[in-house]
Amino acid sequence: MTSPPDDLAFLSAAALARLVQAREVSPVDLVELYLGRIERLDPRLCAFITVCADDARRVAREAEQAFALGGAAGPLHGLPFAVKDQFHAKGLRTTAGSRIHDETPADDDATVVARLKAAGAILLGKLSLSEFALGGTVSFPFGQPRNPWHPDHHPGGSSGGSGIATAAALAAFTLGEDTGGSIRGPASHCGVVGLRATWGLISRHGAWCASWSMDVAGPLTRTVEDAALVLGVLAGHDAKDRLTSRRPVPPYRAALTGDVNGLRVGLVRELTHVEATDPEVRGAVLEAAGVLTKLGAVVEEISLPILDVSGAAFMAICDSEAASAHQAWLRSRPADYDQATRRRLYTASLLPSALYHQAMRARARIRQEIMAALGGHDVLLSATQAAAAPPIASEALPVTSKPDAARRFFGHRAHTTPYSLAGVPAISVPCGFSSAGLPIGLQLAGRAFDESTVLRAAHAYEQATAWHTRRPPLATG
């Protein structure tokens, strides 16, 4: 059988699954298709740290044979995927994007990887990330990841490789991890869908921990339906992660009715109208609010002034938790860290514990106010990021003063961090492009464990627009 054309690569995972089930495309075809694209495009994009081509081909042949013999096929049967190199995958090293990595192959899969494999998905390899999933990396030891919409721009972090590989169709879907926006940010910057689920809905067993109280694994996909499809596989209690919820997992795809008539949407002023939000981004978000209104949703502006402190509170909690895990290496191997990571972790190591506790109290207050807002609204709407993807060079500049540090590290994370602090689900979907041709993301957040409503709203918006159908120029070479 000849390989399908590259157009096939850009189909949604749900569409590909239907083709596989109908035996119109085989798992071997799909694996060869994506491996070919990785070979052709990834030297420039640097989405992958490790490609396991031989294993992928072997698993694809086995999947094809099993299917031919009438073996049960899971919902992701034959779909090639890739995973952020923060999660263990049996037989592969886990670098966490750092020189301080162990070449020893993992003994077992992270639970999320195991569940995707059990559902029939085929692992292609492991994806680039900011060092230790912290963001702000200056020097990437496995190559500088590049935005497929413009090679001089950042793909977002920390799940940058996941954003690139999804946008450039180097896999049917990818897996990322979101602490303060590490799925939603790359999704926004790369023009794809990224879902952060409720904290505790998805197991983190077998993942390198960035911030234990906020890390959430989740999908980056080309459509909202795909996000629902993959979430359905990932979600649910795991005996290996005692912090996972025991709630039953609802049928997420069934929620994608397209009906948002009467849906109450709160447009968060502080995450849309503040001076820190780029006018082009703000315009795109307001247009998106208009689309939802035309679909029958009731959109009203709300104000959550407490969110002004969310960036600082997030950094105090996330960085303190991360620094606590790095003390031994900071003492023994400081030179092996990326410069920015090392300085960030040094700083957090010296932060007074009283400030960490104040940040935790602020977090409880932020959570309380977000939940109060969600008492009167089904979803909260805002920009995902303050601006489109920044140039890569701008993040390598030295920090020259305290105001410079304040501007760069304690302001621009605030759009995604409030929902991380609150532990509620949030999704980013494409909602436009900047004048430079870079994607803009719309963020929708909802009540804890109510991913269905978040997905329903995002899907209705997506289906009413065409932003998700565009292809990045660097993915067509």
Partner: protein, 63 residues
């Protein structure tokens, strides 16, 4: 509140066993001073707010 100096930060690092090199010291000092300043508004939040939970195990019920 006066900003910490490089000498202060170096000494704090040494107390933790962190040998912060001269190349890093200037930036770490700027970052730490900015961090502490950014967190100052948190102290002004109403003291009768919700307690910090040890973990948001079930955010649905947390308030």
């Amino acid at each position: 509140m006066a900003d910490l100096t490089g000498v202060d930060v170096e000494a704090m690092g040494r107390a933790l066993g962190l040998g912060i090199a001269a190349d890093d010291l200037v930036e770490v000092t700027h970052r730490l001073n900015a961090f502490i300043e950014a967190l100052a508004p948190l102290a002004e939040l109403a003291p009768d707010g919700p307690e910090a939970l040890p973990a948001p195990v079930d955010p649905d019920r947390a308030s």
